[in-house]
């Protein structure tokens, strides 16, 4: 089978989606380079090397075109607000004057009738007081990437010379903590060799307002760390569950953890809070540094060109991109999944897992997630914990929770 052929992104028999949920989040790759060299990064160290052909920074002409397209698209879809996320590479490499210019251009081009919620994901190494002032001035919600206490963080989040970035990141967290209105939270990539409770306790101790644990990007062709066959992936659930238990019991004293909250919400029939889990459609689109419009950027862990659509903000509007196969697949929700997923009782919670994690070079995206067994154990154990507490409180346990808890124990490891 060849990439892009019928049956690659979603079953050939799936009807074309009539989901008209418009894009809401526009992720702008304003810098294509990074001052860190993390070996797990999907941009630089996995299957797609297209970053090498990108300009270093997004030029004003691209920003103007993107802003104009975003404004037109929002207006055509009756939207009064959109989310624009600055991403990279490392977006702070743009420098403050360029980031101001980008933000001003976007506001002008999108139009005053459309509210822009700005976000930014940074590695934290360049954040200082003046950056935090700028974030506050432009009301930019900041997420920071941090993998745990220094000796853990510095295993992978390293500069080109191999030295760790933890000291700079801790300083950044301290600065951001003092501005709670613009500090979103921390993204932490799971490292099986670290102690999960130590990582969690550390993140709590430095005062991040929210946490999300990310599974390392990988799939059936490019296996994640520690996974040699599908069953091995259960180690990721075994890593996460001790954190879940500690977080769950802490109640209102603990910072939100989006993955756990999303699973709990999905078990209650609500929508996920993250793009990586749950059956709902995804409303994110990416604008590359050169203006190319792309699908979910983490598809770069699959194969060269996986995220490409062939469209650009210089020539095309966002409506045009909606029907490209990669984005169509996201709009199909459960309709994009292969038979094994559709038959599975967990699918209404996991949604097949994250799209890039379903890839294999022989079957495209019609596989369960490479993390399937981990997701099942995680979901089942969380359902079990919720069911136990509901029963103890004398409340009827919803059938979805009871069904998915059946084969698990609360901390089944």
């Amino acid at each position: 089978m060849t990439p892009g052929a019928a049956g690659w992104w979603y079953p050939a028999t799936s009807p074309v989606s009539n989901d008209r949920r418009p894009f809401h989040t526009f992720l702008l790759k304003i810098a294509s380079r990074c001052n860190l060299d993390c070996p797990y990064c999907y941009v630089y160290h996995l299957a797609d090397q297209s970053w090498q052909k990108q300009p270093r920074f997004m030029e004003p002409a691209i920003v103007r075109a993107a802003g104009l397209r975003i404004g037109e698209y929002a207006r055509q879809n009756g939207k009064s607000s959109v989310s624009v996320v600055y991403h990279g590479g490392e977006p702070l490499l743009t420098g403050q004057s360029r980031l101001r210019e980008i933000s001003d251009i976007l506001r002008a081009q999108v139009g005053s009738d459309i509210e822009i919620d700005f976000g930014l994901q940074t590695n934290g190494t360049l954040v200082d007081e003046s950056w935090v002032d700028l974030f506050e001035e432009y009301n930019i919600n900041v997420g920071i990437s941090i993998d745990g206490p220094p000796r853990r963080h510095d295993r992978f989040r390293i500069y080109v010379d191999g030295s760790g970035s933890s000291r700079a990141v801790e300083a950044a967290v301290a600065l951001l903590r003092a501005r709670p209105s613009i500090f979103g939270g921390a993204l932490c990539v799971v490292d099986l060799e670290s102690d999960p409770v130590e990582v969690y306790d550390y993140l709590v101790s430095i005062g991040v307002p929210g946490i999300d644990f990310l599974l390392p990007d990988g799939n059936h062709t490019h296996l994640p760390p520690g996974v040699h066959q599908r069953a091995d992936a259960v180690k990721y659930a075994d890593w996460l569950l001790p954190i879940f238990e500690r977080w769950y019991q802490a109640g209102s004293a603990a910072p939100p953890i989006r993955t756990f909250m999303s699973i709990m919400r999905l078990l209650l029939g609500r929508e996920s809070l993250v793009e990586s889990i749950g059956p709902s459609t995804v409303d994110l689109v990416v604008v590359e540094t050169n203006g190319d419009i792309e699908a979910v950027d983490t598809l770069k862990c699959c194969y060269a060109g996986a995220a490409a659509t062939g469209f650009s903000v210089l020539r095309d509007d966002f409506h045009t991109v909606e029907s490209t196969p990669a984005l169509q697949a996201l709009r199909l929700g459960l309709g994009a999944l292969g038979d094994e997923c559709i038959r599975c009782k967990y699918v209404r919670v996991c949604g097949g897992g994250y799209q890039p994690h379903r890839y294999s070079e022989d079957r495209g995206f019609l596989n369960p997630s490479i993390y399937c067994v981990a997701l099942q154990r995680l979901i089942g154990s969380i359902a079990c914990r919720m069911g136990q507490d509901l029963r103890a409180a004398g409340v009827t346990v919803p059938s979805r929770i009871a069904d998915l808890a059946a084969d698990h124990s609360p901390s089944s490891s």
Partner: protein
């Protein structure tokens, strides 16, 4: 799904104190969101989530429609 639950509340189908048959996760969630159900739980993540969902429903009722008018969550922003 929030839309469905909130719409039912708007329409008054599920009045406080009634106990509908638990058929779907949405119906079940409605039951769980009753104040007395939440109060019976210890201070844990489940209680906190149910309190949040209850607030989401109230917010949805306030603005008359859930899906298109509730403040968009930071769902797909990386934060």
């Amino acid at each position: 799904m929030e839309t469905k639950a909130a719409s039912r509340m708007l329409a008054g189908d599920v009045a406080e104190g009634q106990c509908p048959a638990v058929q779907s996760p949405e119906d079940a969630a409605d039951e769980l969101l009753r104040e007395r159900s939440i109060a019976a739980l210890p201070d844990n993540a489940l209680r906190r989530l149910l309190e949040d969902l209850r607030t989401e429903n109230v917010d949805a009722r306030t603005v008359r429609l859930a899906r298109n008018h509730t403040k968009h969550t930071k769902k797909y922003s990386r934060w």
